[in-house]
């Protein structure tokens, strides 16, 4: 069931050269328009179904907050239409409208009334709010005596006291201690299970990948990518270094995974191979085995210097390991068009079982944000299995060794002495 539908949505801000121009446009009926329109959003078409978690990513100024404000109903679109079925709650500005002189309880009532609740409804919700905010007797103290964390907790508790149909969560949520963060995420997860649609804005790749079903990438007011979290986040990552949508390509591997390629294209990675101990290319390796990552780069334009590197990401997109030729003290210089450069990184695959992706980068300097020849996300996908070591959890294989010392509780003085030694 579609709960949120946007059709051809656009938002433009009017920009006048000065105040007098606006007055003239308002008051003189024959006046031609004296403003120009700045389009913050254009041609947004999006359908979100009930219970879906949609991630929204984009650089500063891409139009994320404008979109959220229109969904929340505080800002009006210039063209197109939007339909939201049900109550929308936005955790955009927590603690909004809290008055420092009034007590927490009075502020809860006031905030609740702003959300459109009646006093008796708020009184009913009050015990739950007090309980969730964990501020104890402070609830009857003026809010100005609260720490910022307490204000935040109370505000979150009020805003989520009742399950909304659509919940907008901005990054602001990453405030508070980890105990409260976990608690608030648990509440958001519960809402989702009960059918709340979640719109999450974040730059945190692992938050997006662990929560969202689908991600849209906004760039210069348009949706430039819609897709599964990992593909969209790769695209966004490429966008961050490239800032030009046209230079980003996404290609599907034979086995279905989408790789994202961006960069100037002076150099391209022609082949990525993960070789096992017998130098055979593989897609699955044993934990702890010796492997070689072979990256073959094709030089298309003469470049004075080059740094080649790679990253290994886990299934949440978290970087597990990454290194490059510069840090390993190997230089690649004076490369002419037509040359082929192969880098072989040998290491021991001390990772836990699971699926991983490899991103490769070739750039002029160490940071691929500088002069980026090519960045390739999800260039290779491989899995790690564990048949030889004891089964463990996590991505790092730390090879713990266990020794046990057992002291029986009834000890003779003699054995106690021994124990002391």
């Amino acid at each position: 069931m579609t709960i949120l539908r946007m059709h051809h949505l656009g938002k433009a801000y009017k920009q006048y050269p000065n105040h007098r121009a606006r007055l003239a446009e308002w008051c003189l009926p024959w006046s031609k328009p004296r403003h120009h329109l700045y389009w913050a959003l254009r041609d947004i078409n999006l359908e979100v179904s009930a219970g879906e978690a949609l991630g929204i990513v984009g650089m500063n100024g891409a139009g994320k907050s404008t979109l959220l404000k229109i969904i929340a109903g505080t800002s009006q679109q210039t063209e197109g239409n939007i339909n939201a079925a049900g109550r929308v709650a936005a955790l955009l500005e927590l603690g909004m409208g809290f008055h420092p002189e009034f007590t927490g309880r009075q502020n809860v009532v006031m905030a609740g009334q702003l959300f459109g609740f009646q006093v008796d409804e708020i009184q009913e919700l009050m015990p739950g709010i007090e309980d969730f905010a964990e501020i104890g007797n402070y609830i009857d103290q003026p809010v100005r005596t609260y720490s910022s964390g307490m204000q935040m907790r109370l505000a979150f508790a009020v805003a989520t006291a009742k399950r909304p149909d659509i919940l907008i969560v901005d990054e602001a949520l990453s405030v508070g201690d980890s105990h409260f963060q976990h608690k608030s995420f648990r509440r958001i997860r519960n809402f989702r299970e009960e059918g709340t649609t979640l719109l999450l804005v974040s730059h945190d790749r692992s938050a997006i990948q662990s929560i969202c079903d689908r991600v849209i990438v906004l760039h210069e007011g348009k949706i430039v990518k819609t897709g599964p979290p990992d593909e969209a986040m790769d695209f966004y990552h490429a966008l961050l270094s490239e800032r030009d949508v046209k230079l980003i390509r996404q290609e599907r591997h034979a086995y279905g995974k989408l790789q994202t390629i961006s960069g100037r294209g002076d150099v391209s990675v022609a082949e990525i191979n993960l070789l096992n101990e017998e130098k055979k290319p593989v897609y699955a390796v044993e934990t702890g085995s010796s492997v070689t990552l072979e990256i073959k780069a094709q030089i298309h334009k003469t470049v004075p210097e080059m740094v080649m590197g790679f990253l290994i990401r886990d299934r949440f997109g978290q970087i597990v390991y990454g290194i490059n030729s510069y840090r390993l003290g190997k230089s690649m210089e004076h490369l002419s068009a037509g040359d082929q450069v192969t880098g072989r990184f040998s290491f021991e695959m001390n990772l836990g079982k699971g699926n991983y992706t490899i991103s490769t980068g070739v750039s002029r300097q160490e940071s691929h944000l500088s002069e980026n020849y090519e960045w390739r996300d999800a260039g290779l996908v491989f899995s790690v299995y564990n048949t030889k070591k004891p089964d463990f959890v996590g991505t790092a294989s730390l090879d713990a060794v266990l020794t046990v010392e057992h002291l029986p509780s009834r000890q003779t003085p003699h054995s106690f002495e021994q124990g002391q030694r």
């Binding site: 800002s75 008055h99 006031m110 459109g116």
Partner: protein, 265 residues
């Protein structure tokens, strides 16, 4: 067209009432005398006009040989004018003052001017209640005709809020309005027969002053409270019509500019 707003207002009645109570508490919080100040301020106004004008200056209204009559005349004009000007002054800032709420939360914005009127009504009923006590004390209570009083108040409030909303929206775009309205209100005050009786004006100017819609309102108050007479219902009706028209205009202005206004806040 309006029913949607009426429903929204009804479902936000808790917010409106709560805001009124909080605003009142806020004003006298952390003061030892507390809400006593709500009484002391209008009391001072009444005393000043009574003592200075009627006792020290011995000013008299033409045709009435009673020193108290002029002070009642003054108070009935000044107290009701301050109700009018409070609504206008507060509503021209209402959108700017609540910019944060408007930008961040989705709630019926029509609540905001209603709260302004409610706040002004609370302080006006305190000062006017005092004034009535003062009249009873002097033995000058006008009698049953005082029942016409709320009708005049309603006309005045509707006119004030319509006008105030227009100024409030305009003020978001052009701050000149906030600066200029103070001057406008001063001129308006002196072009309304509040301190002086209209009869002292020269004939030519009098017909000009009569174009001022507030004249009929203020003279209605005066005729009720000073003379105990029926107000001039006909001229009040024209002001009432104008008030409705201004509100209608304000509503349309709001509908046309509200989207742009949020962007501008």
């Amino acid at each position: 067209m309006f029913s949607k707003h009426i429903i929204a207002l009804w479902s936000y009645r808790g917010f409106i009432l709560g805001s009124l109570m909080r605003d009142f508490q806020m004003r006298y919080r952390k003061s030892v005398l507390g809400s006593l100040w709500a009484i002391l301020n209008p009391l001072a106004t009444i005393l000043i006009y009574t003592v200075i004008f009627s006792q020290l200056m011995k000013a008299r209204l033409p045709g009435i040989n009673d020193t108290m009559a002029y002070s009642i005349y003054l108070c009935s004009g000044v107290l009701t004018w301050s109700f009018f000007s409070e609504i206008i002054q507060r509503s021209q800032n209402v959108f700017l003052e609540n910019a944060n709420l408007i930008k961040k939360l989705n709630f019926p914005r029509i609540c905001l001017p209603i709260i302004v009127v409610g706040n002004a009504a609370v302080s006006f009923s305190i000062s006017f209640g005092l004034f009535l006590v003062f009249l009873i004390f002097l033995g000058k209570f006008p009698g049953w005709i005082v029942l016409a009083f709320p009708v005049v108040c309603a006309i005045q409030a509707v006119f004030a809020i319509g006008f105030g909303i227009i100024l409030g929206i305009g003020n978001v775009f052009f701050r000149d309005i906030g600066q200029g309205s103070g001057i406008l209100m001063q001129f308006w005050f002196w072009f309304t027969p509040i301190i002086y009786p209209i009869s002292i004006l020269p004939e030519a100017i009098r017909s000009l002053v009569l174009l001022n819609p507030m004249v009929s309102v203020v003279s209605a108050y005066q005729s009720i409270l000073v003379y105990g007479n029926q107000p001039d219902w006909l001229s009040l009706a024209s002001t009432a019509l104008l008030a409705v028209l201004v509100c209608f205009l304000a509503f349309h202005f709001y509908k046309k500019r509200s989207g742009e206004m949020v962007d501008e806040l």
